[in-house]
C-alpha cells in the first residue's frame, strides 16, 4: 500500500463512522434498513482501522496525522498510531467487527425497533471514540474522546431504561467513571503544567516530575484507569453495567472497553512516568492477583449468565495486571530483558481475553434471546436446540479455562513463565511475591475451569428446566457467523503463539526501557522464553498429541466391538422419575466452593420447609443463599454515606439568600487577591 493510502485509512474510518451516523439518523424510521446500515458501516470502519493498525505493526513505523485543528485557539489534536496503539486497535477490530455483524441480527429482537437508530448512533460514536482514545496524541483530545466513550457507553447500558436496575447500573457507571476521569484530569493537567505542553510525547518523557509527586501521579492514573479496567476494589460498577446492556454491547464492553483502561495503565502508569518504582509493580501484582482470585470466586457464585461473565472479566483484568505488574517490577529492579516476557504475556492476554470473552458474551446473548432469561437455572438442554451456539460457547469456555490448544492456555503459560523468571532472577525478598502470585494464578485458572464447566453444563446440557428453554430456537446465520469467527480466532491465537509474539515483539520494542527481545518467537507455532531453553511450548504439537489420543480411543472402540449397537436408555432415576427438578442445579454445582471459601463469601443461607400435615413431610423446600457484597457493604456504602453527610452539612452554605451568595463572591475575591498578590 502506498503511504498516502495508509495515512488516509484512519481518518477515512472516522469519516465513515460520521457518515454512518448521518445515514442512521436519516433512516431511523425504517428499523430494518437502519440496522443494516449502521452496523455494517461500523464494521467497515473497523476494517479500515484494523488495516491501519496492521500496517503499523508490520512496518514498525508509527503513523502520524492531524485529526482536528481549531485555528482560533491554536488547538491541534493530532494522532500517532504507535505499535502499542496499533495492538489495542487490532483488539478493537477483532471484537468490533464480529460484534457489529452480530448486532445486525441480534438487535432486531433484543431492542425495540424505535430505539434502533439511537443504539446505532451510540454504537458508532462509541467505536469511533475508543479508536481515538487508542491513537490520540494530545491531552485535550484524549480527555475529550475518553469522555465521549464514557457517555456513549452509559447511553448503551441504559438502552432498556424502563428497568430500574438498568438505570441504576448506568448511573453507577457514570458516577464511578467520572470520579475516575476527575483523577485523570488532575494527573494530566499536573503533567501538562509541569512540562508546559499538552502533547503526549512531551509530557510522557518520564522526567517531567520526580519525587513524591510522581507517586501521586501514579496513584491518580492508577485510580482513573483502574476504574475503567474494572480491577478490584474499583470494580463495583462492572457486574451491574455489563449485564444490563444488550448482549452485543456487553461483549464490546467486556472485551474492549475494559482494555481502554488497560491501555491507559500501560501507556501512562507503566511507561509514561519513567522507570517505575518497585512498589508500583508490586501494587499491580497485588491488585491483579486480588482481582483475579476474587473475580473468579464471585463469578462462581453467579447464576445469571451475563453477571457470571462480567465477574470473570474482573478475573481476566486481574491476570492482565499481574503480567504488567511483574514486568514493571522487573524493569524497576533492572531486568528489562525479563520485563519483555511479562509485558508480552500481559498484552497477549489482552487480545486473548477480548477474543474469548467476546465469543462468550455473544453466545450468552443468543441464549438469552432464545430463552428470554439470564438465569442459568432456567435453562438446560440447549445444546440440542442450539447446536452451533453451544459448540461455539464450549470453545470459549475451554479457552477461558486455559486448556491447550486454545488461546487462554498460551497467555497463561507466558504469564507463569514471567513469574518464574521473576523469582529466579530478581534479587532480594521481592521475588517471593512471584511464586505466591503463581500459585494463586494456578488456583484462579483452575477455578475458572470449574466456573465454566458450570456455565456451559448447566446452560447447555441435560434436560431443559423450563418450557422456554425447551422451545429455544437456534439463532439465525447472521448471529452464528460472528460466533464461529471468534471461535476460529480463539483457536488460531492458541495454535500460533510464535506468530503472535513476533507481532508483540515490535510492540515491546517500541516501549521505553525494554530491551528488545526477538527470541520469544520460534517460528509461527512455538514460543519460548529467554535465550536458554528455560522452556518452550508448541501448542500445535500438543493438539496433535490430543488428536492422536482421540483417534486411539476411537480405534479401540471400533476394533474391540464386533457389533456396535448403541442402545438409548433413560437415565437411572435412583428409583424415582428424573426430570428437570431433579437435575443438579448451578447453585448446587458451586456449593462445595461456597462452603470452602465461606470466609470470603460470608453467605447468608435460608432454608424454608413448607409442610401441609406434619413438618416431617415437607411439600416444598425453599433454599436461598446470598453472598455478602463485601466491597459494596464495607467500602462503598460508608463512602456514599460520608459523601451524603458532607453534602448535608454543606447545605448550610446554600441558604437561598442572595446577600450570602454575594458575600461568598466577595470573600473569594479577597482571598484570591491576597493569595495571588503574595506571589
Amino acid at each position: 500500500m502506498s503511504p498516502l493510502v495508509v495515512s488516509a485509512l484512519l481518518p477515512a474510518a472516522l469519516i465513515i463512522h460520521a457518515l454512518t451516523i448521518v445515514g442512521t439518523v436519516v433512516t431511523s424510521r425504517r428499523a430494518r434498513w437502519c440496522r443494516r446500515l449502521t452496523f455494517s458501516g461500523s464494521a467497515i470502519a473497523s476494517v479500515l482501522m484494523t488495516a491501519a493498525a496492521s500496517f503499523v505493526l508490520a512496518s514498525g513505523h508509527p503513523l502520524a496525522g492531524v485529526l482536528f485543528v481549531h485555528a482560533a485557539s491554536g488547538l491541534v489534536v493530532d494522532y500517532l498510531v504507535t505499535p502499542l496503539s496499533a495492538w489495542f486497535l487490532i483488539v478493537l477490530g477483532a471484537v468490533g467487527i464480529p460484534v457489529a455483524l452480530y448486532s445486525i441480527g441480534y438487535m432486531a429482537h433484543a431492542i425495540r425497533s424505535s430505539r434502533t437508530a439511537a443504539v446505532g448512533v451510540a454504537f458508532n460514536v462509541l467505536i469511533a471514540a475508543v479508536s481515538v482514545v487508542f491513537v490520540v496524541n494530545n491531552v485535550i483530545g484524549f480527555l475529550f474522546a475518553w469522555e465521549i466513550m464514557t457517555l456513549a457507553t452509559a447511553a448503551l447500558v441504559a438502552t432498556e431504561h424502563e428497568t430500574r436496575t438498568t438505570l441504576r447500573a448506568a448511573y453507577l457507571y457514570l458516577i464511578m467513571s467520572h470520579v475516575g476521569t476527575g483523577a485523570l484530569v488532575a494527573a494530566f493537567f499536573t503533567l501538562a503544567s509541569a512540562s508546559g505542553s499538552m502533547s503526549f510525547p512531551t509530557i510522557l518523557t518520564g522526567d517531567v516530575v520526580s519525587g513524591p509527586l510522581r507517586d501521586v501521579l501514579f496513584g491518580l492514573f492508577f485510580f482513573g484507569f483502574g476504574v475503567k479496567a474494572g480491577v478490584i476494589p474499583l470494580h463495583v460498577w462492572l457486574p451491574e453495567a455489563h449485564p444490563a446492556a444488550p448482549s452485543s454491547i456487553s461483549a464490546l464492553m467486556s472485551a474492549v472497553l475494559i482494555k481502554a483502561g488497560v491501555y491507559g495503565l500501560f501507556r501512562f502508569c507503566a511507561f509514561g512516568l519513567g522507570t517505575p518504582a518497585v512498589a508500583w509493580g508490586l501494587t499491580f501484582v497485588g491488585v491483579g492477583t486480588l482481582s483475579a482470585i476474587l473475580g473468579v470466586l464471585y463469578a462462581l457464585m453467579q447464576n445469571d449468565l451475563k453477571r457470571l461473565l462480567a465477574y470473570s472479566t474482573i478475573e481476566n483484568a486481574g491476570i492482565i495486571l499481574l503480567g504488567l505488574g511483574a514486568g514493571m517490577t522487573m524493569r524497576a529492579t533492572g531486568r528489562p530483558e525479563l520485563a519483555v516476557v511479562a509485558i508480552a504475556a500481559s498484552l497477549y492476554h489482552v487480545m486473548n481475553h477480548a477474543a474469548f470473552k467476546g465469543l462468550l458474551f455473544l453466545g450468552a446473548g443468543s441464549v438469552v434471546m432464545a430463552t428470554g432469561t439470564r438465569q442459568i437455572e432456567a435453562m438446560g438442554g440447549l445444546l440440542r436446540r442450539m447446536p452451533w451456539t453451544g459448540a461455539c460457547f464450549l470453545v470459549g469456555a475451554l479457552a477461558i479455562s486455559g486448556v491447550p490448544p486454545l488461546n487462554g492456555f498460551t497467555s497463561e503459560w507466558l504469564t507463569f513463565q514471567a513469574l518464574l523468571l521473576g523469582f529466579e532472577f530478581v534479587p532480594g525478598l521481592t521475588r517471593v511475591n512471584f511464586p505466591l502470585a503463581g500459585a494463586l494464578l494456578a488456583l484462579t485458572s483452575a477455578l475458572a475451569a470449574v466456573c465454566f464447566v458450570k456455565a456451559f453444563g448447566i446452560t447447555f446440557l441435560a434436560l431443559p428446566r423450563t418450557a422456554a428453554a425447551g422451545e429455544a430456537r437456534e439463532s439465525p446465520a447472521t448471529m452464528l457467523v460472528p460466533l464461529i469467527l471468534l471461535a476460529v480466532v480463539c483457536l488460531a491465537l492458541g495454535l500460533f503463539p510464535g506468530s503472535v509474539l513476533m507481532v508483540l515483539g515490535s510492540v515491546t520494542a517500541s516501549l521505553p526501557g525494554l530491551t528488545p527481545s526477538s527470541d520469544l518467537s520460534r517460528g509461527g507455532l512455538t514460543m519460548a522464553v529467554g535465550a536458554g531453553p528455560f522452556a518452550q511450548v508448541t501448542p500445535a504439537a500438543l493438539a496433535i498429541a490430543i488428536v492422536g489420543g482421540f483417534a486411539l480411543a476411537g480405534l479401540l472402540v471400533v476394533v474391540t466391538g464386533a457389533t456396535r449397537v448403541i442402545r438409548r436408555a433413560p437415565t437411572w432415576g435412583c428409583g424415582g422419575t428424573l426430570g428437570p427438578r431433579t437435575e443438579y442445579s448451578g447453585a448446587a454445582f458451586s456449593k462445595p466452593l461456597l462452603m470452602v471459601f465461606r470466609e470470603v463469601y460470608r453467605p447468608t443461607r435460608e432454608v424454608e420447609a413448607l409442610a401441609d400435615v406434619s413438618p416431617y413431610f415437607p411439600t416444598e423446600v425453599r433454599y436461598r443463599v446470598e453472598i455478602e457484597p463485601t466491597f459494596e457493604r464495607h467500602l462503598y456504602d460508608p463512602l456514599a454515606r460520608g459523601v451524603i453527610r458532607l453534602a448535608e452539612r454543606m447545605k448550610v452554605l446554600q441558604a437561598g439568600s442572595l446577600h450570602a451568595y454575594l458575600g461568598y463572591v466577595l470573600l473569594l475575591g479577597a482571598v484570591l487577591l491576597i493569595w495571588l498578590g503574595g506571589q
Binding site: L383, V453, K454, L461, G549, A553, R568, A569, P570, T571
Partner: protein, 314 residues
C-alpha cells in the same frame, strides 16, 4: 525430520507401554490392600479382564445425552494419552520434549477433566452433577499445590521442561535435599487427591454420598466406561512417574542404548512398586475424609510446597 520420526516412535512406545502396564498397578494396589485386610481380593489381572469385558459390552447411553456425553470419555482418554508423551519414563527426555513441559502437562490434564466433568452433567442425573462438582472442586483446590511443587523442581533445574528437570536432578552434585522431602510430601498429597484415593475419595465405593469420581462416571457403560477406567489408571501411573522423575530419577537412562534402558526399566518398575506400597499403606490406615475436610489436607500440601520453595531458594 529424524527428530520428528524419533519423537513419534518414542511416543508410540511410551504410550503403548504405559497403557499396557497401567491396569496392573491398580490391580496390584487392590491385591496388596486385600492382603493387608486379610482378604483374598480380586486376581492381579482383574483390571485387564474388566477392560476386555467392558469393551465387548454394548454401549448404553442416556436418552437425554448429547454429543458432549460421547466426547467426554474419549477426550479424557486422549488427554491422558497425550500427557503420557510429555513425561520422561525410561529415558531422561520425554517424546514430546519442548512441546509444552510441565505447564503443558497440567493444561492437558485439565482439558481431560473439563471434558469428563462437562459430560457428567449431560445425563441429567443428580449423581453426575454431584460427582462433577466435587471432582472439579478438589482438582481446583489441588492445583496451586501441584503447581508450586512443580515450580520448585523447575526452578532448581532452570527449566519447565520435564526432560531438562530430570537431567538437572541427575547432574553430579545434585543431592537429595531436605526441602525435597517437604516438596515430595506436598506433591504426594496432590497425587492422592488427583487420583481419587483414600483419604480424599474412595475408588471402591458406590455409596451415594461419598462418591466423587465414581459418581461422575456412574452413567457410563461398556466401551465408554472402559476408556474412562483405562485413562484413570494411566493418569495414576503418570502422576507416580512424574514424582519419580522429579525426586528420585536415579537409574533413568540418559542414552537410548539397550543396557541403560533395561536398567532404567527395572528401576522404574521398582520405584512404581514402592509408590504402590505407600499408597496401599495410606489407603489401609486412613479413613476417607469428609468432603469439607479435604481443603484442609490440600492446604497442608500447599503449605509444604511453599516452605519447600522457601527453604530451597531463600
Amino acid at each position: 525430520m529424524n527428530d520428528i520420526l524419533g519423537a513419534l516412535v518414542g511416543a508410540v512406545f511410551q504410550v503403548a507401554g504405559l497403557l499396557a502396564v497401567a491396569p496392573l498397578l491398580r490391580g496390584g494396589i487392590k491385591k496388596m490392600k486385600a492382603t493387608m485386610q486379610m482378604r483374598k481380593g480380586p486376581p492381579l489381572l482383574q483390571g485387564y479382564y474388566d477392560l476386555a469385558k467392558l469393551f465387548r459390552k454394548e454401549t448404553v447411553r442416556s436418552e437425554t445425552a448429547s454429543w458432549v456425553y460421547v466426547l467426554g470419555p474419549r477426550l479424557y482418554f486422549a488427554a491422558a494419552v497425550a500427557a503420557t508423551m510429555l513425561v520422561p519414563v525410561l529415558v531422561a527426555a520425554s517424546p514430546l520434549d519442548g512441546a509444552g513441559g510441565i505447564l503443558g502437562l497440567v493444561g492437558i490434564l485439565a482439558l481431560g477433566r473439563f471434558a469428563l466433568a462437562a459430560a457428567a452433567l449431560d445425563t441429567g442425573s443428580p449423581f453426575g452433577g454431584m460427582g462433577s462438582s466435587r471432582e472439579m472442586t478438589i482438582a481446583a483446590l489441588a492445583e496451586p499445590a501441584l503447581m508450586l511443587g512443580l515450580f520448585t523442581s523447575a526452578l532448581a533445574a532452570g527449566s519447565l521442561d520435564l526432560g531438562a528437570v530430570v537431567r538437572g536432578a541427575l547432574a553430579p552434585g545434585a543431592l537429595f535435599r531436605p526441602s525435597d522431602i517437604l516438596a515430595l510430601s506436598g506433591l504426594f498429597v496432590v497425587l492422592i487427591a488427583e487420583t481419587g484415593r483414600i483419604p480424599v475419595d474412595n475408588p471402591a465405593t458406590h455409596l451415594e454420598l461419598t462418591m466423587i469420581h465414581e459418581a461422575m462416571v456412574l452413567e457410563y457403560a461398556g466401551p465408554d466406561l472402559a476408556l474412562v477406567e483405562w485413562a484413570s489408571a494411566l493418569k495414576e501411573l503418570l502422576y507416580i512417574t512424574l514424582l519419580i522423575d522429579l525426586f528420585i530419577p536415579f537409574g533413568i537412562a540418559t542414552t537410548l542404548a539397550p543396557g541403560p534402558v533395561a536398567i532404567a526399566a527395572v528401576a522404574w518398575v521398582a520405584k512404581v512398586f514402592v509408590f504402590g506400597v505407600v499408597i496401599t499403606l495410606v489407603e489401609t490406615t486412613n479413613a476417607k475424609l469428609r468432603l469439607f475436610r479435604v481443603p484442609e489436607l490440600v492446604a497442608v500440601s500447599l503449605g509444604l510446597g511453599f516452605i519447600a520453595l522457601a527453604i530451597r531458594f531463600l
